[in-house]
Amino acid sequence: MLWNPEIETMPRHELEKLQVERLRRTVERVYQHVPFYRQKLDEAGIGPAEIRSVADLARLPFTNKQDLRDNYPFGLFAVPKDEIVRVHASSGTTGKMTVVGYTKSDVNTWAEVMARTMACGGVTNKDTVQVAYGYGLFTGGLGAHYGAEKIGAAVIPISGGNTKRQLQIMADFGTTAVACTPSYSLFMAETAAEEGIDLHQLPVRVGFFGAEPWSNAMRREIEEKWGIKAIDIYGLSEVMGPGVASECMVQDGLHVWEDHFMVEVIDPATGEVLPYGEKGELVFTCITKEALPLIRYRTRDISILSNGTCACGRTHLRMHRVMGRTDDMLIIRGVNVFPSQIESVLLEIGETEPHYQLIVDREGNLDDLEIWVEISERLFSDEVRKLEQIEGRIRREIQSTLGISARVKLVEPKTIARSEGKAKRVIDWRDVYSDGNR
Protein backbone atom coordinates (compact mmCIF):
# COMPACT_ATOMS: atom_id res chain seq x y z
CA MET A 1 0.00 0.00 0.00
CA LEU A 2 1.31 3.40 -0.96
CA TRP A 3 0.45 6.51 1.03
CA ASN A 4 1.80 8.99 -1.48
CA PRO A 5 2.01 7.05 -4.78
CA GLU A 6 3.20 9.99 -6.86
CA ILE A 7 6.25 10.58 -4.67
CA GLU A 8 6.91 7.01 -3.63
CA THR A 9 7.08 5.68 -7.19
CA MET A 10 8.55 8.79 -8.77
CA PRO A 11 10.99 8.03 -11.58
CA ARG A 12 14.54 8.51 -10.35
CA HIS A 13 15.47 11.38 -12.64
CA GLU A 14 12.46 13.34 -11.43
CA LEU A 15 13.16 12.48 -7.81
CA GLU A 16 16.74 13.63 -8.25
CA LYS A 17 15.64 16.85 -9.82
CA LEU A 18 13.43 17.49 -6.82
CA GLN A 19 16.30 16.63 -4.47
CA VAL A 20 18.77 19.00 -6.09
CA GLU A 21 16.29 21.84 -5.94
CA ARG A 22 15.50 21.18 -2.28
CA LEU A 23 19.15 20.64 -1.39
CA ARG A 24 20.12 23.97 -2.93
CA ARG A 25 17.36 25.74 -1.04
CA THR A 26 18.38 24.08 2.22
CA VAL A 27 22.03 25.02 1.78
CA GLU A 28 20.94 28.56 1.03
CA ARG A 29 18.90 28.65 4.20
CA VAL A 30 21.58 27.27 6.51
CA TYR A 31 24.16 29.53 4.88
CA GLN A 32 22.00 32.51 5.74
CA HIS A 33 20.72 31.52 9.15
CA VAL A 34 23.26 29.21 10.80
CA PRO A 35 26.71 30.76 11.40
CA PHE A 36 28.14 27.30 12.02
CA TYR A 37 27.20 26.20 8.51
CA ARG A 38 28.23 29.45 6.87
CA GLN A 39 31.71 29.00 8.28
CA LYS A 40 31.90 25.36 7.28
CA LEU A 41 30.64 26.01 3.77
CA ASP A 42 33.05 28.89 3.34
CA GLU A 43 35.88 26.67 4.49
CA ALA A 44 34.84 23.96 2.06
CA GLY A 45 34.66 26.61 -0.65
CA ILE A 46 31.17 25.74 -1.78
CA GLY A 47 28.14 27.98 -1.92
CA PRO A 48 24.46 27.28 -2.55
CA ALA A 49 24.74 28.45 -6.15
CA GLU A 50 27.22 25.71 -6.96
CA ILE A 51 24.78 22.91 -6.19
CA ARG A 52 23.61 21.75 -9.60
CA SER A 53 23.43 17.98 -9.35
CA VAL A 54 22.97 15.21 -6.81
CA ALA A 55 26.71 14.54 -7.08
CA ASP A 56 27.42 17.97 -5.56
CA LEU A 57 26.14 16.65 -2.23
CA ALA A 58 29.52 14.93 -1.77
CA ARG A 59 31.25 18.32 -1.82
CA LEU A 60 29.44 19.52 1.29
CA PRO A 61 31.03 19.27 4.74
CA PHE A 62 29.90 16.63 7.26
CA THR A 63 28.02 17.33 10.47
CA ASN A 64 28.33 15.07 13.49
CA LYS A 65 26.92 14.61 16.96
CA GLN A 66 29.68 16.65 18.51
CA ASP A 67 28.61 19.65 16.40
CA LEU A 68 25.16 19.38 17.94
CA ARG A 69 26.63 19.24 21.40
CA ASP A 70 28.98 22.13 20.75
CA ASN A 71 26.00 24.21 19.72
CA TYR A 72 23.79 23.04 22.59
CA PRO A 73 20.93 23.60 22.82
CA PHE A 74 19.63 25.62 19.87
CA GLY A 75 22.76 26.82 18.06
CA LEU A 76 22.11 24.90 14.84
CA PHE A 77 18.46 25.91 14.55
CA ALA A 78 17.77 27.69 11.28
CA VAL A 79 14.55 29.44 12.35
CA PRO A 80 13.75 31.90 15.12
CA LYS A 81 12.59 30.36 18.37
CA ASP A 82 8.97 31.44 17.86
CA GLU A 83 8.64 29.14 14.86
CA ILE A 84 9.65 26.10 16.88
CA VAL A 85 6.60 24.09 17.95
CA ARG A 86 8.29 20.99 19.33
CA VAL A 87 11.54 20.02 20.98
CA HIS A 88 12.86 16.50 21.47
CA ALA A 89 16.17 15.34 22.89
CA SER A 90 18.29 12.27 23.32
CA SER A 91 21.12 11.46 25.70
CA GLY A 92 24.64 12.24 24.61
CA THR A 93 28.04 10.75 25.42
CA THR A 94 28.97 13.27 28.06
CA GLY A 95 25.56 13.52 29.59
CA LYS A 96 24.81 16.58 27.49
CA MET A 97 21.69 16.01 25.48
CA THR A 98 21.31 16.24 21.75
CA VAL A 99 18.46 18.68 21.26
CA VAL A 100 16.36 18.79 18.11
CA GLY A 101 13.53 21.11 17.14
CA TYR A 102 10.61 21.13 14.73
CA THR A 103 8.52 23.80 13.09
CA LYS A 104 4.85 23.23 12.34
CA SER A 105 5.81 22.23 8.83
CA ASP A 106 8.48 19.82 10.17
CA VAL A 107 5.91 18.09 12.34
CA ASN A 108 3.72 17.72 9.24
CA THR A 109 6.61 16.26 7.26
CA TRP A 110 7.30 13.88 10.09
CA ALA A 111 3.68 12.76 10.13
CA GLU A 112 3.84 12.35 6.33
CA VAL A 113 6.89 10.06 6.39
CA MET A 114 5.49 8.09 9.32
CA ALA A 115 2.18 7.75 7.45
CA ARG A 116 4.13 6.29 4.52
CA THR A 117 5.89 3.97 6.98
CA MET A 118 2.60 2.76 8.43
CA ALA A 119 1.13 2.38 4.93
CA CYS A 120 4.17 0.22 4.12
CA GLY A 121 2.69 -2.24 6.59
CA GLY A 122 -0.79 -1.89 5.14
CA VAL A 123 -2.27 0.40 7.81
CA THR A 124 -5.42 2.30 6.74
CA ASN A 125 -8.07 4.37 8.50
CA LYS A 126 -9.79 1.11 9.45
CA ASP A 127 -6.89 0.11 11.67
CA THR A 128 -6.26 0.52 15.37
CA VAL A 129 -2.62 1.28 16.10
CA GLN A 130 -1.25 0.70 19.57
CA VAL A 131 1.79 2.92 20.10
CA ALA A 132 3.91 1.28 22.76
CA TYR A 133 7.03 3.35 22.12
CA GLY A 134 7.84 5.76 24.92
CA TYR A 135 6.21 9.19 24.68
CA GLY A 136 8.23 12.14 25.86
CA LEU A 137 11.57 13.59 24.82
CA PHE A 138 12.23 10.36 22.94
CA THR A 139 10.86 10.68 19.40
CA GLY A 140 9.44 7.16 19.10
CA GLY A 141 6.02 7.57 20.69
CA LEU A 142 4.88 10.85 19.19
CA GLY A 143 6.42 10.06 15.81
CA ALA A 144 4.44 6.85 15.42
CA HIS A 145 1.38 8.57 16.87
CA TYR A 146 1.27 11.41 14.34
CA GLY A 147 1.85 9.05 11.42
CA ALA A 148 -0.97 6.71 12.38
CA GLU A 149 -3.26 9.64 13.07
CA LYS A 150 -2.51 11.18 9.69
CA ILE A 151 -3.65 7.98 8.02
CA GLY A 152 -6.82 8.23 10.05
CA ALA A 153 -6.25 5.09 12.06
CA ALA A 154 -7.44 4.95 15.66
CA VAL A 155 -4.40 5.51 17.84
CA ILE A 156 -3.95 4.04 21.30
CA PRO A 157 -1.21 6.18 22.88
CA ILE A 158 -0.37 3.72 25.62
CA SER A 159 3.42 4.32 25.66
CA GLY A 160 5.78 1.63 26.95
CA GLY A 161 5.41 -0.63 29.96
CA ASN A 162 2.40 -1.97 31.86
CA THR A 163 2.56 -5.09 29.75
CA LYS A 164 -0.48 -6.95 31.06
CA ARG A 165 -2.63 -3.93 30.37
CA GLN A 166 -1.12 -3.62 26.89
CA LEU A 167 -2.27 -7.15 26.12
CA GLN A 168 -5.67 -6.60 27.69
CA ILE A 169 -6.20 -3.49 25.56
CA MET A 170 -5.07 -5.28 22.42
CA ALA A 171 -7.74 -7.90 22.97
CA ASP A 172 -10.50 -5.54 24.14
CA PHE A 173 -9.94 -2.62 21.73
CA GLY A 174 -9.12 -4.78 18.72
CA THR A 175 -5.60 -3.50 18.05
CA THR A 176 -4.53 -4.42 14.52
CA ALA A 177 -1.07 -2.82 14.44
CA VAL A 178 1.51 -2.36 17.15
CA ALA A 179 4.55 -0.06 17.27
CA CYS A 180 7.33 -0.64 19.80
CA THR A 181 10.93 -1.79 20.11
CA PRO A 182 11.48 -5.35 18.85
CA SER A 183 12.71 -6.48 22.27
CA TYR A 184 9.60 -5.12 23.94
CA SER A 185 7.42 -7.06 21.51
CA LEU A 186 9.18 -10.24 22.60
CA PHE A 187 8.79 -9.31 26.23
CA MET A 188 5.07 -8.83 25.61
CA ALA A 189 4.98 -12.25 23.94
CA GLU A 190 6.58 -13.78 27.01
CA THR A 191 4.08 -12.11 29.30
CA ALA A 192 1.24 -13.28 27.06
CA ALA A 193 2.49 -16.86 27.36
CA GLU A 194 2.61 -16.55 31.15
CA GLU A 195 -0.89 -15.14 31.21
CA GLY A 196 -2.19 -17.86 28.91
CA ILE A 197 -3.01 -15.39 26.15
CA ASP A 198 -2.71 -16.78 22.62
CA LEU A 199 -1.30 -13.94 20.52
CA HIS A 200 -2.48 -15.63 17.34
CA GLN A 201 -6.04 -15.10 18.54
CA LEU A 202 -5.52 -11.32 18.76
CA PRO A 203 -6.45 -9.17 15.76
CA VAL A 204 -2.91 -7.71 15.54
CA ARG A 205 -1.52 -8.36 12.06
CA VAL A 206 1.49 -6.05 11.69
CA GLY A 207 4.16 -4.49 13.89
CA PHE A 208 6.50 -1.53 13.35
CA PHE A 209 9.74 -2.19 15.13
CA GLY A 210 12.72 0.10 15.50
CA ALA A 211 14.82 2.23 17.89
CA GLU A 212 17.26 -0.60 18.48
CA PRO A 213 19.25 -3.06 16.37
CA TRP A 214 17.72 -6.46 15.78
CA SER A 215 18.51 -9.47 13.70
CA ASN A 216 16.61 -11.49 11.13
CA ALA A 217 16.45 -14.34 13.62
CA MET A 218 14.64 -12.02 16.00
CA ARG A 219 12.27 -11.00 13.23
CA ARG A 220 11.37 -14.62 12.60
CA GLU A 221 10.79 -15.16 16.30
CA ILE A 222 8.50 -12.13 16.54
CA GLU A 223 6.57 -13.09 13.43
CA GLU A 224 6.09 -16.64 14.67
CA LYS A 225 5.13 -15.77 18.22
CA TRP A 226 2.72 -13.02 17.22
CA GLY A 227 1.54 -14.35 13.89
CA ILE A 228 2.17 -10.92 12.36
CA LYS A 229 4.34 -9.25 9.77
CA ALA A 230 7.27 -7.48 11.47
CA ILE A 231 8.31 -4.28 9.68
CA ASP A 232 11.74 -2.81 10.39
CA ILE A 233 11.64 0.97 10.66
CA TYR A 234 14.54 3.36 11.00
CA GLY A 235 15.06 6.87 12.22
CA LEU A 236 17.11 9.08 14.46
CA SER A 237 16.05 12.24 16.20
CA GLU A 238 18.80 14.34 14.59
CA VAL A 239 17.36 13.65 11.15
CA MET A 240 13.66 13.47 12.14
CA GLY A 241 12.84 10.59 14.47
CA PRO A 242 11.21 7.38 13.30
CA GLY A 243 10.13 7.60 9.69
CA VAL A 244 13.46 8.24 7.99
CA ALA A 245 13.23 4.83 6.32
CA SER A 246 10.95 1.84 6.43
CA GLU A 247 10.59 -1.67 5.10
CA CYS A 248 7.59 -2.52 2.98
CA MET A 249 5.75 -5.83 2.95
CA VAL A 250 8.42 -7.20 0.58
CA GLN A 251 10.89 -6.89 3.49
CA ASP A 252 13.86 -6.41 1.21
CA GLY A 253 15.55 -3.34 2.68
CA LEU A 254 14.20 -0.10 4.12
CA HIS A 255 12.99 2.60 1.74
CA VAL A 256 14.61 5.91 2.58
CA TRP A 257 12.09 8.73 2.02
CA GLU A 258 14.44 10.48 -0.33
CA ASP A 259 12.28 13.45 -1.14
CA HIS A 260 12.99 14.57 2.45
CA PHE A 261 16.27 12.90 3.35
CA MET A 262 19.18 12.37 1.00
CA VAL A 263 21.25 9.37 1.93
CA GLU A 264 24.83 8.31 1.28
CA VAL A 265 27.08 5.53 2.52
CA ILE A 266 30.66 6.60 3.18
CA ASP A 267 33.91 5.00 4.16
CA PRO A 268 34.02 5.98 7.85
CA ALA A 269 37.81 6.36 7.75
CA THR A 270 38.20 8.51 4.66
CA GLY A 271 34.77 10.09 4.30
CA GLU A 272 34.67 9.00 0.69
CA VAL A 273 31.26 8.15 -0.77
CA LEU A 274 30.88 4.45 -1.51
CA PRO A 275 28.93 2.95 -4.42
CA TYR A 276 25.65 1.10 -3.92
CA GLY A 277 26.16 -2.37 -2.49
CA GLU A 278 29.15 -1.44 -0.38
CA LYS A 279 29.12 -1.41 3.37
CA GLY A 280 29.83 1.85 5.17
CA GLU A 281 28.49 4.59 7.41
CA LEU A 282 25.07 6.08 6.71
CA VAL A 283 25.01 9.83 6.14
CA PHE A 284 21.78 11.81 5.89
CA THR A 285 21.01 15.29 4.64
CA CYS A 286 17.68 16.87 5.51
CA ILE A 287 16.38 18.69 2.45
CA THR A 288 12.97 19.86 3.64
CA LYS A 289 13.46 20.46 7.32
CA GLU A 290 13.07 24.01 8.54
CA ALA A 291 14.07 24.01 12.18
CA LEU A 292 17.18 21.85 12.13
CA PRO A 293 18.28 20.99 8.61
CA LEU A 294 21.41 18.92 9.12
CA ILE A 295 23.83 18.68 6.22
CA ARG A 296 25.52 15.32 5.71
CA TYR A 297 24.90 14.11 9.22
CA ARG A 298 27.11 11.15 10.12
CA THR A 299 25.00 8.55 11.90
CA ARG A 300 27.76 6.09 12.90
CA ASP A 301 25.32 3.38 11.80
CA ILE A 302 26.74 0.88 9.34
CA SER A 303 24.61 -0.24 6.41
CA ILE A 304 24.50 -0.84 2.66
CA LEU A 305 22.43 1.06 0.10
CA SER A 306 20.81 -0.50 -2.90
CA ASN A 307 19.00 1.08 -5.84
CA GLY A 308 16.55 -0.38 -8.30
CA THR A 309 12.78 -0.37 -8.08
CA CYS A 310 11.43 -2.59 -5.31
CA ALA A 311 8.82 -5.27 -6.00
CA CYS A 312 6.38 -2.97 -4.18
CA GLY A 313 6.87 -0.34 -6.88
CA ARG A 314 8.73 2.21 -4.76
CA THR A 315 11.68 3.84 -6.43
CA HIS A 316 13.37 5.26 -3.35
CA LEU A 317 16.77 3.85 -2.37
CA ARG A 318 16.75 1.05 0.13
CA MET A 319 19.10 0.67 3.06
CA HIS A 320 20.04 -2.66 4.55
CA ARG A 321 19.04 -3.10 8.18
CA VAL A 322 21.69 -1.49 10.40
CA MET A 323 24.64 -3.86 10.65
CA GLY A 324 26.72 -2.24 13.36
CA ARG A 325 28.24 0.97 14.62
CA THR A 326 31.45 2.79 13.79
CA ASP A 327 31.73 3.90 17.42
CA ASP A 328 31.28 1.94 20.62
CA MET A 329 27.71 3.02 21.26
CA LEU A 330 25.44 0.37 22.69
CA ILE A 331 21.69 0.45 22.55
CA ILE A 332 20.31 -1.04 25.73
CA ARG A 333 16.56 -1.26 26.05
CA GLY A 334 16.28 1.50 23.47
CA VAL A 335 18.66 3.82 25.34
CA ASN A 336 21.91 4.92 23.71
CA VAL A 337 24.78 4.09 26.00
CA PHE A 338 28.43 4.89 25.48
CA PRO A 339 31.00 3.09 27.65
CA SER A 340 32.54 6.51 28.30
CA GLN A 341 29.39 7.56 30.16
CA ILE A 342 29.75 4.62 32.52
CA GLU A 343 33.42 5.39 32.87
CA SER A 344 32.73 8.93 34.01
CA VAL A 345 30.27 7.70 36.62
CA LEU A 346 32.92 5.29 37.94
CA LEU A 347 35.58 7.99 37.88
CA GLU A 348 33.43 10.20 40.04
CA ILE A 349 32.92 7.46 42.60
CA GLY A 350 36.42 6.01 42.63
CA GLU A 351 38.48 9.10 41.84
CA THR A 352 40.90 6.84 40.00
CA GLU A 353 40.91 5.36 36.55
CA PRO A 354 38.57 2.41 36.82
CA HIS A 355 39.04 -0.95 35.22
CA TYR A 356 35.63 -2.02 34.18
CA GLN A 357 33.80 -4.11 31.67
CA LEU A 358 30.25 -4.02 30.40
CA ILE A 359 28.56 -7.30 29.80
CA VAL A 360 25.43 -6.99 27.75
CA ASP A 361 23.11 -9.89 27.27
CA ARG A 362 19.51 -10.61 26.59
CA GLU A 363 17.81 -12.08 29.62
CA GLY A 364 14.65 -13.58 28.24
CA ASN A 365 13.92 -10.87 25.75
CA LEU A 366 15.07 -7.84 27.64
CA ASP A 367 18.53 -6.38 27.42
CA ASP A 368 20.54 -6.91 30.53
CA LEU A 369 23.56 -4.88 31.52
CA GLU A 370 26.11 -6.02 34.06
CA ILE A 371 29.00 -3.79 35.01
CA TRP A 372 32.11 -5.41 36.36
CA VAL A 373 34.25 -3.04 38.35
CA GLU A 374 37.65 -4.02 39.66
CA ILE A 375 37.90 -3.27 43.34
CA SER A 376 40.61 -0.78 44.19
CA GLU A 377 42.47 -0.17 47.42
CA ARG A 378 40.56 3.05 47.79
CA LEU A 379 37.15 1.46 47.50
CA PHE A 380 37.90 -1.65 49.49
CA SER A 381 36.60 -2.04 53.00
CA ASP A 382 36.62 -5.06 55.30
CA GLU A 383 32.91 -4.57 55.85
CA VAL A 384 30.44 -6.16 53.45
CA ARG A 385 27.93 -3.43 54.13
CA LYS A 386 30.29 -0.76 52.82
CA LEU A 387 31.13 -2.69 49.67
CA GLU A 388 27.46 -3.23 49.01
CA GLN A 389 26.91 0.47 49.51
CA ILE A 390 29.46 1.14 46.77
CA GLU A 391 27.69 -1.25 44.43
CA GLY A 392 24.42 0.45 45.24
CA ARG A 393 25.88 3.88 44.66
CA ILE A 394 27.25 2.93 41.25
CA ARG A 395 23.91 1.38 40.34
CA ARG A 396 21.98 4.49 41.35
CA GLU A 397 24.36 6.86 39.57
CA ILE A 398 24.08 4.82 36.37
CA GLN A 399 20.31 4.81 36.72
CA SER A 400 20.10 8.54 37.22
CA THR A 401 22.60 9.63 34.58
CA LEU A 402 21.80 7.09 31.86
CA GLY A 403 18.28 6.13 32.80
CA ILE A 404 18.95 2.41 32.68
CA SER A 405 19.24 -0.15 35.41
CA ALA A 406 22.35 -2.26 35.60
CA ARG A 407 23.78 -4.91 37.86
CA VAL A 408 27.08 -3.98 39.41
CA LYS A 409 29.59 -6.62 40.33
CA LEU A 410 32.81 -5.89 42.17
CA VAL A 411 35.61 -8.13 41.00
CA GLU A 412 39.21 -8.78 41.99
CA PRO A 413 41.97 -6.70 40.44
CA LYS A 414 43.31 -8.01 37.13
CA THR A 415 40.10 -9.96 36.55
CA ILE A 416 39.33 -7.88 33.50
CA ALA A 417 41.58 -8.74 30.61
CA ARG A 418 44.09 -6.06 29.71
CA SER A 419 44.64 -5.73 26.03
CA GLU A 420 47.43 -3.94 24.28
CA GLY A 421 46.16 -0.63 23.08
CA LYS A 422 42.46 -0.07 23.43
CA ALA A 423 40.78 -1.85 26.31
CA LYS A 424 37.90 -4.08 25.38
CA ARG A 425 35.20 -2.50 27.46
CA VAL A 426 32.19 -4.27 26.11
CA ILE A 427 31.20 -7.87 25.78
CA ASP A 428 27.92 -8.05 23.90
CA TRP A 429 26.35 -11.47 23.81
CA ARG A 430 23.15 -10.30 22.17
CA ASP A 431 24.33 -10.74 18.61
CA VAL A 432 21.87 -8.08 17.55
CA TYR A 433 23.41 -7.34 14.19
CA SER A 434 23.74 -10.89 12.97
CA ASP A 435 21.88 -11.53 9.82
CA GLY A 436 22.81 -14.83 8.33
CA ASN A 437 23.40 -13.28 4.92
CA ARG A 438 25.91 -10.58 5.59
Partner: protein, 143 residues
Protein backbone atom coordinates in the same frame (compact mmCIF):
# COMPACT_ATOMS: atom_id res chain seq x y z
CA UNK B 1 45.86 -3.36 72.91
CA UNK B 2 45.10 -3.16 69.24
CA UNK B 3 45.51 -6.16 67.00
CA UNK B 4 46.17 -5.91 63.32
CA UNK B 5 43.85 -7.79 61.01
CA UNK B 6 44.40 -8.35 57.30
CA UNK B 7 41.33 -8.26 55.02
CA UNK B 8 41.34 -9.58 51.48
CA UNK B 9 38.78 -9.12 48.73
CA UNK B 10 37.88 -12.41 47.09
CA UNK B 11 35.55 -13.20 44.26
CA UNK B 12 33.17 -16.04 45.00
CA UNK B 13 34.99 -18.58 42.88
CA UNK B 14 36.42 -21.93 43.70
CA UNK B 15 40.10 -22.07 44.53
CA UNK B 16 40.37 -18.46 45.64
CA UNK B 17 40.64 -19.22 49.35
CA UNK B 18 43.04 -22.09 48.75
CA UNK B 19 45.34 -19.78 46.82
CA UNK B 20 45.48 -17.22 49.59
CA UNK B 21 46.22 -19.76 52.29
CA UNK B 22 48.88 -21.38 50.13
CA UNK B 23 50.59 -18.05 49.58
CA UNK B 24 50.69 -17.49 53.34
CA UNK B 25 51.94 -21.02 53.98
CA UNK B 26 54.69 -20.65 51.40
CA UNK B 27 55.91 -17.61 53.29
CA UNK B 28 55.72 -19.36 56.68
CA UNK B 29 52.94 -17.15 57.89
CA UNK B 30 50.68 -18.82 60.42
CA UNK B 31 46.95 -18.17 60.53
CA UNK B 32 45.66 -17.53 64.05
CA UNK B 33 42.06 -16.74 63.32
CA UNK B 34 39.90 -16.19 60.30
CA UNK B 35 36.45 -15.32 59.18
CA UNK B 36 34.75 -14.94 55.82
CA UNK B 37 31.90 -12.60 55.12
CA UNK B 38 30.32 -13.31 51.81
CA UNK B 39 27.68 -12.12 49.37
CA UNK B 40 26.63 -13.75 46.11
CA UNK B 41 29.42 -12.11 44.16
CA UNK B 42 32.28 -11.63 46.54
CA UNK B 43 33.65 -12.41 49.93
CA UNK B 44 35.89 -10.67 52.42
CA UNK B 45 38.45 -12.86 54.09
CA UNK B 46 39.62 -11.54 57.45
CA UNK B 47 42.75 -12.96 58.98
CA UNK B 48 44.78 -12.67 62.13
CA UNK B 49 48.22 -13.99 61.29
CA UNK B 50 51.59 -14.45 62.93
CA UNK B 51 53.15 -11.63 60.91
CA UNK B 52 50.56 -9.18 59.61
CA UNK B 53 53.05 -6.87 57.96
CA UNK B 54 54.69 -9.63 56.01
CA UNK B 55 51.31 -11.12 55.10
CA UNK B 56 50.12 -7.75 53.80
CA UNK B 57 53.24 -7.46 51.68
CA UNK B 58 53.16 -10.90 50.09
CA UNK B 59 49.43 -10.72 49.35
CA UNK B 60 49.82 -7.28 47.77
CA UNK B 61 52.59 -8.65 45.67
CA UNK B 62 50.25 -11.37 44.42
CA UNK B 63 47.85 -8.69 43.24
CA UNK B 64 45.19 -9.03 45.93
CA UNK B 65 43.26 -6.09 47.26
CA UNK B 66 44.32 -6.09 50.89
CA UNK B 67 43.65 -3.79 53.77
CA UNK B 68 44.89 -3.72 57.35
CA UNK B 69 42.37 -2.98 60.07
CA UNK B 70 42.72 -2.63 63.82
CA UNK B 71 40.58 -4.84 65.96
CA UNK B 72 40.44 -5.90 69.59
CA UNK B 73 40.95 -9.43 70.88
CA UNK B 74 39.08 -10.22 74.05
CA UNK B 75 39.80 -13.08 76.38
CA UNK B 76 36.50 -14.71 77.19
CA UNK B 77 36.08 -16.95 80.26
CA UNK B 78 35.53 -20.48 78.97
CA UNK B 79 32.27 -21.28 80.71
CA UNK B 80 28.60 -21.02 79.83
CA UNK B 81 27.61 -17.36 79.70
CA UNK B 82 31.20 -16.21 79.31
CA UNK B 83 30.66 -14.49 75.98
CA UNK B 84 27.31 -13.11 77.11
CA UNK B 85 29.04 -11.29 79.99
CA UNK B 86 31.49 -9.63 77.62
CA UNK B 87 28.79 -8.66 75.13
CA UNK B 88 26.77 -7.18 77.97
CA UNK B 89 29.73 -5.00 78.92
CA UNK B 90 30.04 -3.77 75.35
CA UNK B 91 26.33 -3.12 75.20
CA UNK B 92 26.34 -1.23 78.50
CA UNK B 93 29.09 0.98 77.17
CA UNK B 94 27.12 1.61 73.98
CA UNK B 95 29.79 0.01 71.79
CA UNK B 96 28.42 -1.18 68.46
CA UNK B 97 30.02 -4.31 67.05
CA UNK B 98 30.69 -4.22 63.33
CA UNK B 99 31.55 -7.90 63.27
CA UNK B 100 33.20 -10.52 65.43
CA UNK B 101 34.65 -13.99 65.17
CA UNK B 102 36.35 -16.50 67.39
CA UNK B 103 39.94 -17.53 67.63
CA UNK B 104 41.32 -20.77 66.37
CA UNK B 105 43.76 -21.15 69.26
CA UNK B 106 43.20 -20.30 72.90
CA UNK B 107 44.96 -18.40 75.59
CA UNK B 108 45.39 -20.54 78.63
CA UNK B 109 42.00 -21.86 79.58
CA UNK B 110 40.13 -18.97 78.05
CA UNK B 111 38.65 -18.57 74.59
CA UNK B 112 39.53 -15.54 72.46
CA UNK B 113 37.03 -13.55 70.45
CA UNK B 114 37.93 -10.85 67.99
CA UNK B 115 35.80 -7.70 67.71
CA UNK B 116 35.73 -4.95 65.16
CA UNK B 117 34.10 -1.89 66.68
CA UNK B 118 33.53 1.64 65.52
CA UNK B 119 35.54 3.65 68.01
CA UNK B 120 38.33 1.32 68.96
CA UNK B 121 40.20 3.63 71.37
CA UNK B 122 37.11 4.39 73.38
CA UNK B 123 36.14 0.70 73.39
CA UNK B 124 39.54 -0.32 74.75
CA UNK B 125 39.33 2.29 77.49
CA UNK B 126 35.83 1.23 78.55
CA UNK B 127 36.57 -2.49 78.44
CA UNK B 128 39.68 -2.05 80.56
CA UNK B 129 37.67 -0.08 83.11
CA UNK B 130 35.36 -3.08 83.36
CA UNK B 131 38.31 -5.42 83.83
CA UNK B 132 37.76 -7.26 80.58
CA UNK B 133 40.98 -8.96 79.55
CA UNK B 134 42.28 -7.72 76.24
CA UNK B 135 45.15 -9.26 74.37
CA UNK B 136 47.81 -7.19 72.71
CA UNK B 137 49.09 -7.81 69.20
CA UNK B 138 52.20 -9.64 70.26
CA UNK B 139 50.22 -12.03 72.46
CA UNK B 140 47.85 -12.78 69.63
CA UNK B 141 50.33 -13.20 66.82
CA UNK B 142 52.34 -15.66 68.90
CA UNK B 143 49.55 -17.64 70.51
Amino acid sequence: MKVKQISIFLENQSGRLARVTKTLGDHHINIRALSIADTTDFGILRLIVSDPEKAWGVLKEQGYTVSATEIIAVQVPDHPGGLAEILQVLDDCGINIEYMYAFVGRSGNDAVVVFRVENIDRAIELLQQKDVKLLCGKEVYNV
